[in-house]
């Protein structure tokens, strides 16, 4: 499946902060085809460092999409039946307007003059895209991690536009621990002299800081077990310790590699803005209980967590499910057994596939 990136421009978007962005570009991809009733559309929402390229082989880069094992003909999100849409989030650096985009008022990149954005800003922009497609109601909204936050926000903000929500490995708000990891990442970037208060476009980007931020991220996405299995204490290309600070261990080599790869595809300022949006996210908006925040929800839910995910632990998914049950919402929930930590939702897809396929088929049948 060779896929092409598309883009659409909207006049303006009013943000939670009070600022307005104008214009706003949204990069998106689609897979499968929209039926005549426009009732088979699924919006897939990417995680923090993802992009609109969720499935297939990119026409431009030749790379596989980030959820290619879940989206495609015969897969969980079966493109023989459903029309799948994925767009890059607001604040991103992969085609949708973000801090690296040109500010039309100055002709220069926004950099740190980009307004602070929220998860609900991201979702309102996605809704403009869905309106633009003329889709009255999404069959499902789904995503893992930050994508799951957006799925929850969709169900709360636009209850009449969502038939079903599948939030995976996510939370209704970040814990102190989650905020703490994000803050370490941000500080690593801002401590890099190349960051230069965010003004590095056209110059040397803060690669060292961004790469350290990514290394921390990768540690939180794995588990003790999966790291032991993958690296153990194995040495990298040597029989004995080097008695220095070059790479000794496999795990060091892996983290350095992932960090340096990330620098090539991600903008450091986007890292700051998007992690901030995640930290600000709170489905209750700081008011009242979660159950009362869910008062208007009409969607049915399938909530999935993973046993080894310590970054978005099972208790956070259970909180969502409890509140939905207190509102007597239609919700299924399961904690899947997996060793891959938070990454499980991306890599361990066998059981997810069975669940999602059955849930979607049943939802589609009921909604018809």
């Amino acid at each position: 499946m060779i896929v092409e990136a598309n883009s659409v421009r909207f006049d303006s978007l009013a943000l939670d902060s009070g600022a307005t962005l104008a214009p706003v570009d949204v990069a998106y991809e689609t897979y499968g085809s929209l039926n005549a009733a426009k009732s088979n559309a699924i919006l897939v929402l990417h995680a923090f460092s993802g992009d609109a390229h969720a499935a297939g082989i990119s026409h431009e880069t030749g790379k596989q999409g980030w959820w290619d094992n879940m989206i495609g003909p015969g897969k969980a999100f079966d493109t023989n039946h459903y029309f799948v849409i994925c767009s890059n989030v607001l604040g991103g650096c992969r085609g949708t307007t973000g801090p690296s985009s040109i500010n039309p008022a100055t002709g220069c990149p926004y950099a740190m003059s980009f307004p602070v954005i929220t998860i609900s800003d991201m979702v309102r922009l996605q809704k403009m895209l869905i309106d633009w497609f003329g889709i009255p109601r999404l069959l499902a909204v789904t995503g893992g991690s930050m994508g799951g936050m957006q799925a929850l926000e969709w169900a709360v903000a636009f209850p009449d536009r969502v038939v079903a929500a599948i939030p995976v490995a996510t939370t209704t708000r970040h814990s102190a621990q989650q905020i703490a990891f994000n803050e370490v990442g941000r500080q690593a970037i801002m401590a890099d002299p190349d960051w230069n208060e965010g003004n590095y476009y056209g110059k040397q980007p803060p690669g060292r800081g961004l790469s350290v931020a990514r290394m921390i991220g990768h540690i939180t996405y794995m588990s003790d077990d999966s790291m032991r299995e993958k690296f153990g204490r194995r040495l990298r290309g040597k029989e004995a310790f080097g008695f220095g600070f070059d790479v000794d261990f496999e795990v060091e080599s892996y983290l350095r590699y992932r960090g340096s790869q990330f620098v090539n595809r991600f903008d450091a300022n986007s890292y700051l803005y998007i992690t901030k949006a995640m930290d600000y996210f709170d489905l209750t908006n700081g008011q009242g209980s979660l159950a009362s925040a869910l008062a208007r929800v009409k969607a049915r839910f399938l909530v999935i967590s993973f046993s080894s995910d310590w970054l978005y632990p099972t208790y956070q998914s259970q909180e969502i499910v409890r509140a939905l049950r207190a509102r007597n919402c239609d919700v299924g929930y399961v904690e899947l057994e997996s060793n891959y930590g938070h990454d499980s939702f991306l890599v361990d897809v066998g059981e997810q596939t069975e669940l999602v396929r059955g849930f979607l088929a049943n939802t589609f049948e009921k909604a018809a």
Binding site: N328, D330, G332, Y333, V334, L336, E337, G358, A361
Partner: protein, 212 residues
């Protein structure tokens, strides 16, 4: 409840009762009502109720594998134990709360019954009758913890921790001021009318909170 308990329940539905409990529960449950099945296994009963009675179905099940299969067949099931399964729901959320073959496995059966009748207007409770003559004879003859078709476990790995008979349940219902609206006593798939406490292998009760 252990996963072993869950598998015991599954065998109960399929092998001991065949479809006769479906028939009874189908007779009890009104069309288009709201049903919660505690310990719902793979959701066979709920799916059947959805298809034949158009009910709004929810389930609670402890075993991950069973929850996965239930969700894959389109039934909304929550992975958790029965106590968790009940606590979150508001009062009167359901028309029926079903507890099939699990009352004798719960740690606090009275508490479970009360919670069932808090979240549901009626409770449907099915349980194996420990007063059945085979159980009585087994114990009398062997002098050991009874093992029969319905109680196949050795004492040390039985999920059943609170043995009860038809008469015991009726007494508890009296103590809790529950109204017994219907009672079905079964031997295999046959209804038993005489000496139910001696002849019934399984009893199904429909109870509601009586006048307090």
């Amino acid at each position: 409840m252990t996963s072993q308990a869950a598998s015991g329940k599954h065998a109960f539905v399929r092998e001991s009762l065949g479809r006769s409990d479906y028939a009874i529960i189908g007779e009890i449950v009104e069309p288009r009502s709201r049903v919660l099945d505690l310990g719902c296994g793979e959701g066979e009963l709920l799916q059947w109720l959805v298809e034949s009675k158009d009910v709004e179905a929810r389930g609670v099940e402890i075993s991950r594998e069973k929850v996965q299969r239930a969700i894959a067949r389109g039934v909304s099931v929550f992975q958790g134990d029965i106590d968790e399964g009940l606590a979150d729901y508001p009062d009167g959320a359901f028309d029926y709360v079903i507890l099939s073959q699990t009352l004798q496995e719960t740690h606090h059966p009275r508490q479970v019954l009360r919670e069932m009748l808090r979240v549901g207007r009626r409770a449907i409770v099915a349980f194996p009758n420990f007063g059945h003559w085979r159980v009585r004879l087994s114990m009398l003859w062997s002098g050991r913890a009874p093992r029969t078709r319905l109680f196949p476990y050795a004492w040390y790995d039985s999920p059943n921790i609170h043995f009860l008979t038809v008469r015991d349940f009726e007494e508890l219902a009296g103590m809790e001021s529950l109204a017994v609206e219907r009672r079905y006593c079964l031997a295999g798939s046959r209804r038993v009318s005489m000496l139910p406490n001696l002849l019934a292998e399984v009893a199904v009760f429909l109870v509601s909170a009586g006048a307090r």
